[in-house]
C-alpha cells in the first residue's frame, strides 16, 4: 500500500542524520524558501533540493502519491493566481511588457509569467525536501525529534502513533468497505449522486469508528501498563548521538537561511527585479 506518509528504509547519508537535525534542517530550509522571491536564491535552493532527494536515494516511484498530490496542488495554485489576479506581476515589478492578448480581461504579460515562475520555483525548492524528510524519518524518530525540539513527549508520541496506525486504519477501512459493498452498498459507481455516495461512506465510518475506539483503548492500556506518562521526561531507544554530519547539515541550512535574508536586504525587497 503506498500510503501518504511512508517511511522508506534505505541506507543513505540522509537516513543517517538524526531525526532532530533533519527536523531542524527542514524548518530552516522552509523558512529560507518562504522568506524570499529572489529567483536566483530560489533556483539555487531548487537545485539543492533535488540533489538532497537524489542523495537520500528516494525515487519518484516510491512517493508517487505525495508527488502527484503536490504537483496537482502547484498547478491549481498557479491557475488560481492567474484567474484572480492576472497582472499581479505588474504591481510587484512596476513595469508592464505585454506579449499578447488572450481573452476578456486576460493578457499574457512578461512580469506575470516571471512572478509565477517564482511561485513554481518555491514549490520545487521545498517539496522535494519535505518528501525526503517524511520518507527518511521513521515515526518514532520523528517523535523523539519533536521531543528534542521542545514538544512534550506525550504529544510527540501521539503524533507518531497516529502516523503509524494510518496503514492499519486504511486496511481496516478496505475490509469494512468490501463487506458493506457485499451487502449492496454502491461505492465505485458514478451513477450515484454525491449526496448518496457521502451517505454510503458514512455507513462505513460508523463501524470504523467503533473498532478504532476499541483499538485505542487497548493501545492506551498497553502503554500505561508499561509506564507511559509516568515522568516528565523519557529517553528514546532510537535516539542516536549527534555526529559531524548532523552539525554540518544544520550549519549549511543556517547559512542558506542567512543568505536568503541577506539577499532580501541587498535587494531592498523580497523580489529580484530583472525588468529595471
Amino acid at each position: 500500500m503506498s500510503g501518504f506518509f511512508n517511511y522508506i528504509d534505505r541506507k543513505s547519508p540522509v537516513h543517517d542524520l538524526t531525526g532532530a537535525s533533519k527536523m531542524a534542517c527542514l524548518l530552516l530550509w522552509t523558512f529560507a524558501a518562504m522568506l524570499t522571491f529572489d529567483t536566483r536564491v530560489l533556483a539555487v535552493l531548487s537545485v539543492l533540493a533535488v540533489v538532497v532527494m537524489i542523495i537520500s536515494r528516494i525515487r519518484i516511484s516510491d512517493v508517487k502519491v505525495l508527488f502527484w498530490f503536490s504537483f496537482v496542488f502547484m498547478v491549481l495554485n498557479n491557475l488560481l493566481i492567474f484567474l484572480f489576479s492576472p497582472e499581479h506581476g505588474v504591481t510587484i515589478y512596476g513595469t508592464r511588457h505585454e506579449i499578447c492578448h488572450l481573452f476578456w480581461r486576460y493578457n499574457l504579460v512578461q512580469e506575470q509569467l516571471f512572478y509565477q515562475l517564482n511561485v513554481i520555483l518555491k514549490y520545487i525548492s521545498t517539496i522535494p525536501v519535505v518528501i525526503t524528510f517524511v520518507s527518511t524519518t521513521d515515526p518514532s524518530e520523528f517523535a523523539s525529534s519533536l521531543n528534542r525540539l521542545g514538544v512534550s513527549y506525550k504529544i510527540a508520541y501521539s503524533v507518531s502513533l497516529a502516523l503509524r496506525y494510518i496503514p492499519d486504519v486504511q486496511r481496516e477501512y478496505n475490509d469494512i468497505s468490501v463487506a458493506q459493498q457485499a451487502r449492496g452498498l454502491e461505492m465505485e459507481s458514478r451513477k450515484q449522486s454525491l449526496v448518496k455516495r457521502l451517505k454510503n461512506a458514512a455507513t462505513m465510518i460508523f463501524p470504523l469508528i467503533i473498532s478504532s475506539m476499541d483499538r485505542i483503548e487497548v493501545v492506551a492500556n498497553a502503554m500505561e501498563l508499561r509506564g507511559f506518562g509516568k515522568g516528565k521526561k523519557r529517553t528514546w531507544y532510537s535516539a542516536r548521538p549527534f555526529r559531524f554530519a548532523d552539525g554540518f547539515a544544520t550549519a549549511m541550512c543556517v547559512l542558506m537561511l542567512a543568505a536568503s535574508i541577506v539577499m532580501n536586504i541587498i535587494n531592498g525587497s523580497r523580489y529580484f527585479n530583472p525588468f529595471v
Binding site: 500505561e224 508499561r226 535516539a239
Partner: protein, 580 residues
C-alpha cells in the same frame, strides 16, 4: 460454596505476593458488583491458572492486580488487596508495573514500538534509562525469549508466536516479580499456542517468577503443569485446587468450562477420574487394565456416525493463484470443491492464505490465476454485490460489520439497498430471519445493548436475510467461552440443516472435528490436505506442517490400544453431542 484442598493450603506456605482479603469491586458504570468476597493468596513463585466463563470476573480480577483498575476503569473496591505486602490503595499503575508485568491478549495492539528492539525497550524509555544501558538490557532479555535475531524487525515481519515472545520480553525487561497473561492463546494457531505455553513454563522454571494465566481454554494451558487452578463464576471464586483435583470433580462442566476431551471421554466410559490416575495431562494419565477395558467397551457400544449423503457440487475454486501487490504469494494453485449442504472448515497456520481464499471466493480481491464458479457458472463477471446474493461473508469482528444503530434496520439493510422487494415483503423477510436467529424478541432494541455473541448473531442474520446459498464465516467463535461457542455453533448447524452450505475459517481444532465433515488445510499458500477432519488430525505430517494440533482423543485411543483413532474421535463426537 468454595472448595479448598490440602495441596493448595500447603502452597500458601511460601511468602505471599498477591493477597485478596474479602475483596469486592463494583464498576462505576454498573449497578451490581462484579467481584464478591474474593479471598485468594498467591505465593511467590507459584504458577496459577485463573479460569471461568465470560463475564465471571476473571478480567476484572486481573485489572485489579495490574492497576488498570482504577487507572482506566473506575469503581469502588471493598476489602483489601496486598501486592508484595503493600495495600492497593497506596499503589498506582506505574508503581504496580514494577511488580506486575502484563502480557495482553492482543499482541498486535500491544506492539507499541516500531521495531522489536524499540518495543522491548518501551518500559525502559519511560523510566529514563540511558541509551547504552537500554541497548544492553534489551539484547539480554531478547536472548532469553529467543528473539535476539529480530531486533530490527517491524511487527508485520513477525509471526504470531514471535510477537507473543516480544510482548513477554517487553514486560520481563523490567525484572517484574509477577507475570500476568491475559488470554494468551486467543488469536494463535494451535501449534503456536502450544509453544507459547511451553515458553511460559520454561520462563517460570528458569526465573522462578510468579505466573498468573487467565484463560478459558483449559486443555491447552494444561499442556504444561500448573500448581493450582482458580475457577471463577459470577464474580466469586468457586474452586481453588490442583488441576488433578479439579478435573476429578464436576465443577468445570457445571460452570461452563470445557473439560479436556480425554477426561470427558473417560467419564463417558465410566472410568472413575480421581487424582490417583494423574488426570491433569494426557502424558501423566495412568489407566488400570480395568479402566482400559471400560474405554474399549464404551467405544464398541457407541454407534458410529452415519456417513453423510453427498449433494451435488455447488462451489468450485479451481487453480486459484493470488499474489499481493508487494510480490508476496498468498495462494498457489489451490483447488476446492464444496458440495451443497456441506459444513467444512478451512484451517492452517496464521498467514497461510485462508482469509485470502475466502476473499477470492467472495470477489473482494481478484485472483490472478484460476476460476471460481457457482453451480457450474463462472463468477468472474459478477460484482461484489452480485456475488453476495449467492455467497455471504461474515467477518470475525461483528463491530466491523454493524453499521445501523437498531437491530431491525441492520438486518434489513441488505434488502433495503437491493430495492427488489416492497417494504411489506422486507418486513416479513426480516421477521422470519430474526425468528430463525432467535433475535425476534430483541427486534426493536439498539445493537449496542447486545452482548458480543448476540451481535455475532445479528451479523449472521443480516447476511442470512439475503438468502445466500453459501455462508463463509471467519473465526465465528474466537474469544468465546464454551457456552457461547456451543450457542453459535449449534445455531450454525441448524442453518446448515436448512440446506445452507457453510464454510468456516478457524484455528479451533475442537470446532473443526465437532462440526465439520471435512477440512481443507492450507500451508504456505498451498493446499496440503482436503479430507475428513479426523483424518487430518491423525496425519502427523499435515498436523506438523500446518501448525495444527493432534487431539488428546487420538492419544487416549492409542493408550487404550484402540487402533482406529479416527473412528474413536468420530464415535466420541456422536456420543458427546447426544450428551449435551
Amino acid at each position: 460454596m468454595r472448595q479448598h484442598t490440602a495441596g493448595a493450603v500447603f502452597l500458601y506456605m511460601s511468602e505471599p505476593i498477591i493477597e485478596f482479603r474479602d475483596f469486592g469491586f463494583k464498576y462505576t458504570s454498573q449497578a451490581e458488583p462484579t467481584l464478591f468476597d474474593i479471598n485468594l493468596t498467591v505465593g511467590r513463585g507459584e504458577k496459577v491458572l485463573i479460569c471461568g466463563p465470560s463475564g465471571c470476573g476473571k478480567s476484572t480480577l486481573a485489572h485489579c492486580i495490574n492497576g488498570l483498575i482504577p487507572s482506566s476503569y473506575s469503581g469502588e473496591a471493598t476489602g483489601e488487596l496486598l501486592i508484595a505486602g503493600t495495600s492497593f490503595r497506596e499503589l498506582d499503575i506505574f508503581k504496580l508495573s514494577k511488580t506486575v508485568g502484563t502480557v495482553l491478549q492482543d499482541s498486535d495492539a500491544q506492539f507499541i514500538g516500531l521495531t522489536v528492539g524499540e518495543d522491548i525497550a518501551f518500559a525502559l524509555e519511560n523510566d529514563r534509562v540511558s541509551n547504552a544501558e537500554m541497548k544492553r538490557r534489551v539484547a539480554d532479555v531478547a536472548r532469553r525469549v529467543g528473539v535476539e535475531d529480530f531486533l530490527g524487525h517491524a511487527p508485520y515481519e513477525l509471526s504470531g508466536g514471535q510477537k507473543q515472545r516480544v510482548s513477554l520480553a517487553g514486560v520481563m525487561v523490567d525484572d517484574v516479580d509477577v507475570l500476568l497473561f491475559d488470554e494468551p492463546l486467543a488469536n494463535l494457531d494451535p501449534a503456536t499456542g502450544k509453544t507459547t505455553i511451553e515458553l511460559i513454563d520454561d520462563i517460570h522454571k528458569s526465573t522462578g517468577k510468579t505466573v498468573l494465566i487467565i484463560e478459558h481454554r483449559l486443555e491447552d494451558v494444561l499442556h504444561r503443569d500448573v500448581d493450582r487452578i482458580v475457577l471463577m463464576g459470577e464474580g466469586r471464586i468457586i474452586a481453588d485446587m490442583t488441576p488433578a483435583e479439579l478435573l476429578s470433580s464436576d465443577l468445570l462442566v457445571r460452570n461452563g468450562i470445557r473439560e479436556p476431551l480425554y477426561i470427558t471421554a473417560l467419564k463417558y466410559a465410566g472410568v472413575s477420574v480421581n487424582p490417583a490416575i494423574g488426570p491433569q495431562r494426557i502424558d501423566t494419565l495412568r489407566l488400570s487394565d480395568d479402566d482400559i477395558r471400560k474405554v474399549q467397551g464404551w467405544y464398541s457400544d457407541v454407534p458410529s456416525a452415519a456417513a453423510l449423503e453427498k449433494g451435488p457440487v455447488l462451489l468450485t475454486a479451481h487453480g486459484i493463484g493470488y499474489t499481493y501487490g508487494n510480490g508476496c504469494k498468498a495462494l498457489d494453485k489451490v483447488d476446492v470443491d464444496v458440495r451443497k449442504g456441506e459444513m467444512i472448515s478451512i484451517v492452517g497456520k496464521n498467514g497461510a492464505g485462508k482469509s485470502t481464499l475466502a476473499k477470492v471466493i467472495c470477489g473482494f480481491v481478484k485472483q490472478q490465476e484460476g476460476k471460481v464458479s457457482l453451480n457450474g457458472e463462472d463468477m468472474a463477471a459478477l460484482s461484489i454485490k452480485e456475488r453476495a446474493d449467492h455467497i455471504g461473508y461474515v467477518m470475525q469482528n461483528p463491530n466491523q460489520m454493524i453499521s445501523k444503530p437498531m437491530i431491525r434496520d441492520e438486518v434489513a439493510l441488505g434488502l433495503v439497498l437491493r430495492k427488489k422487494l416492497t417494504q411489506e415483503e422486507i418486513d416479513a423477510k426480516v421477521d422470519e430471519t430474526l425468528k430463525v436467529c432467535g433475535l425476534y424478541p430483541f427486534r426493536n432494541w439498539p445493537v449496542s445493548a447486545l452482548s458480543y455473541g448476540q451481535k455475532k448473531r445479528v451479523t449472521i442474520a443480516s447476511i442470512l436475510v439475503m438468502d445466500p446459498e453459501v455462508i463463509i464465516l471467519d473465526e465465528p467463535t474466537a474469544g468465546q467461552d464454551f457456552r457461547h461457542y456451543t450457542d453459535i455453533m449449534e445455531f450454525l448447524r441448524s442453518l446448515n440443516a436448512l440446506g445452507i452450505t457453510i464454510i468456516l475459517i478457524t484455528h479451533d481444532m475442537h470446532l473443526m472435528i465437532e462440526y465439520c465433515s471435512r477440512a481443507v488445510v492450507l500451508c504456505d499458500s498451498e493446499k496440503v490436505a482436503d479430507t475428513s477432519c479426523e483424518e487430518v488430525l491423525t496425519d502427523t505430517d499435515v498436523v506438523e506442517k500446518a501448525n495444527l494440533k493432534e487431539t488428546s482423543l487420538s492419544k487416549l485411543a492409542s493408550l487404550c490400544g484402540i487402533g482406529d483413532g479416527q473412528d474413536f474421535i468420530r464415535r466420541f463426537i456422536t456420543a458427546d453431542r447426544e450428551a449435551r
